[in-house]
Assembly symmetry: C2
Homo-oligomer: 312 residues x 2
């Protein structure tokens, strides 16, 4: 897919050799399924050279759902396995530009979502979570990197990558530069001591890849290292594996704010079943785990391979 | 011109009544020649209500020429006459985006140009000169106003106003929002105590009007007062009244860094003359002051009406 590479057994072996521990189950199970330049990041780690992690969240509502959690859970493992700094961008400016909400509302979503992200247990000493609406106005270096990227990308290029039209507002059109800027260590002088040469690894859902293909294209032209990438697939909605969880449809998603009972009820009521059409049929043929949403969720959350194998 | 009004004798009388002093000679001589909503600003002043001044400079080189000085000289008079705060935006980010220079070079032009601007004698207690490259990264409120404007203007609108093409970089396309933001008092919470309702008067050269027509269009949609405007005409280049001084052509301009002797030599050598073709012709018919660059310069700089009249 546009120059990314699948995560194959050779790379999984390199992970194991480099870290001295098995790769995360999301990697082993193909949920984190492709990458760009991950070999180079593993090589850096072997040589004791620094790099940092960057991921983000578009805070589109107060409630995060389980699908949003996957890249963060995986990022947490990466931070622990590699013992590196992590920056987490909350693109509240993006949500203001794209949605019919005020800046104040977008900013409040950042606070609510940040609580859920913090609750996942990132290393407080090595993690920087920031609101664009706050941080861009607090960091001349971040703004300068935005300018550098904005100078290096034309409307035509942004249109080609993101499908912008002439009716889109000018904020949307220049936004990709804001998502690009955290890939460069010089955007965080307080973390990286004003160094601009520290490489970045971005774990993200695959739909974010266009932003970072653009970033990788621009990086050498502005004298910065290209960020490496690890792509994860989508977490399926309750309605089935071909659907994506949507925060705007409460019945498609399990939210972090749902009570344990609400989660159980939702799964029982809405989760697409791979079971047989009748009890007899089910007893005879068994269920189809490939399309059974409950089983698929276990693939994302159950770290015990043997138990998962047994359920299959 | 697109809804602006000429500065006529009625408005000049209002100036005089409001201020208890004659309007500045640039107003009287039609060099500051049109306006938007200046009546409302005069009314505010009469009522003792606050407003502020905003002007700016695109620091495209180290050297400012006399043409650049005119709006600042006039702004200085406005500040003294009305006794109001003034913000001066140095758009070094714009110059970085438009020109083949680095951010560091653009930022250094701000410092050099700011020295020339300061030397004109603005009230140090009531004047805030800022570099975009520094201030945007130091003011969340400024960035938020940028976002508000960027959400309210489409590519199509920006194209219609500024003639952008699809080959322009995305930074240029969103830049007009950066020039709009200082029109709103909430962009300077440290000056206006976080008030968002203080009206703005922008003295500027006429070529900047498109930015502020856009700003006036957007202002009510983001809950801010429309800025008022005072437009000045161009200062002619040495080559003649139909030409505009250009910093990139040293022989077209008198620079603030030129020595008195260099100024004299430039005027003598290059200033387009309205004199007769021969001494005889000149003695018979006199000169044509309308096209004589030396005389035109006196219209911009000689505040003594009687002396100017005598020269004519």
């Amino acid at each position: 897919r546009f120059g990314s590479s699948p995560i194959d057994s050779a790379l999984l072996s390199k992970f194991e050799t480099t870290l001295g521990q098995p790769p995360h189950f999301l990697l082993r199970r193909g949920i984190v399924f492709s990458h760009r330049d991950m070999d180079q990041i593993l090589a850096l780690h072997s040589q004791g050279k620094p790099f940092f992690l960057y991921t983000g969240r578009g805070p589109s509502s107060e409630a995060m759902h389980m699908g949003h959690v996957i890249p963060f859970l995986f990022t947490k493992w990466l931070q622990e396995a590699f013992n590196v700094p992590l920056v987490i961008q909350m693109t509240d400016d993006e949500k203001f530009l794209w949605k019919d909400i005020s800046l104040e509302t977008a900013r409040s979503y950042t606070t609510e979502n940040a609580k859920d992200i913090i609750a996942l247990g990132f290393d407080p000493e090595r993690t920087f979570i920031f609101s664009d609406l706050d941080y861009i106005g607090s960091s001349p270096e971040f703004y300068r990197n935005m300018c550098r990227v904005q100078k290096a990308v034309t409307f035509n290029q942004a249109k080609g990558i993101f499908g912008f039209t002439e009716s889109d507002c000018i904020g949307k059109i220049s936004f990709p530069a804001i998502q690009a800027a955290p890939s460069f260590s010089s955007s965080f002088p307080h973390i990286f001591n004003s160094r601009s040469d520290i490489p970045c690894l971005i774990p993200c859902a695959i739909d974010q890849d266009p932003y970072f293909r653009m970033t990788r294209d621009v990086a050498p032209r502005i004298g910065c290292p290209k960020p490496a990438l690890l792509h994860s697939t989508f977490f399926p909605a309750l309605q089935g594996c071909q659907t994506k969880m949507s925060a705007s449809d409460p019945n498609s998603s399990v939210f972090l704010t749902d009570t344990p009972k609400a989660v159980k009820d939702k799964i029982n009521k809405y989760a697409f079943s791979g079971g047989g059409a009748t009890v007899e049929e089910h007893k005879k043929n068994g269920g189809n785990c490939d399309i059974d949403v409950s089983y698929q969720y276990l693939r994302f959350f159950l770290d015990d391979d043997q138990r998962l194998e047994k359920i299959l």
